[in-house]
């Protein structure tokens, strides 16, 4: 069982709807990552946080996603207005150094 907990496991949304997913990182891991894995199994980095601060994010994330990692609450990633192309597996990972990354089981989003 993964030490990174992601909810929900599956999410179905209509185009234009908001889609929100959550992640509880592994205890003691200050860095949290979100990746999108598409149907071709390619990974796209979306954003990462160290403690509550954004370290890096891609342009798409900045424009269309809302993400946060508040202290003492799950991290979250929300698509403000879902598009069909957003259908993918969203993976959360946490790390305490560049040598140790743990992935959650993912949230599979389907936008219809």
């Amino acid at each position: 069982n993964s030490k990174v907990i992601q909810t929900p496991r599956y999410l179905v949304k209509g185009q234009g709807q908001k889609a929100k997913m959550r992640c509880i990182p592994e205890k003691g891991h200050p860095v949290v990552f979100w990746y999108q894995q598409n149907k071709n199994n390619e990974f796209k980095f979306l954003i990462n946080f160290q403690n509550q601060e954004v370290l890096q994010q891609i342009d798409m994330t900045e424009k269309r996603f809302s993400a946060e990692c508040p202290s003492n609450s799950p991290c979250s990633l929300e698509i403000q207005s879902s598009e069909a192309g957003d259908s993918a597996l969203y993976l959360c990972a946490s790390s305490h150094a560049n040598s140790d990354y743990t992935f959650g089981s993912g949230t599979r989003l389907l936008v219809i």
Partner: protein
């Protein structure tokens, strides 16, 4: 920028045969390399990792050696099993970005036949 290349998209083998999955990388920093295995509908799980040049690392019958001279970290197993059928990803810790981002290769689907 940093990058990882996996040349085989699909590898199909008969049980008991050896396998080598290729992984090469590009980075201007001291690399930390990983192999992850992802079974259907599951999270990627760490299989191997290394940052030490020319030292073999092993886990669950799989092994790999980081060769900085050739920028390679190929995954090998001497005798594959049916349960080894999965997606295998090579990844590099993106030190150059300063954000600890994992850079993934495109993945290799390994299918083991009876």
């Amino acid at each position: 920028g940093d990058s990882v290349t996996q040349t085989e998209g699909l590898v199909t083998l008969t049980k008991g045969l050896p396998v080598m999955l290729n992984c090469t990388y590009q980075t201007t920093y001291s690399p930390f390399l990983f192999w992850y295995v992802q079974h259907l509908n599951e999270a990627p799980k760490l299989l191997l990792k290394s940052s030490t040049d020319n030292k073999r690392t092993e886990h669950q019958g799989f092994y790999a050696t980081l060769h900085k001279s050739s920028s390679s970290f190929h995954l090998q197993k001497s005798s594959v099993q049916l349960s080894d059928s999965a997606l295998y990803f090579c990844a590099l810790s993106g030190a150059s970005s300063g954000s600890w981002q994992l850079i993934f290769g495109s993945g290799t689907q390994l299918t083991v036949m009876p």
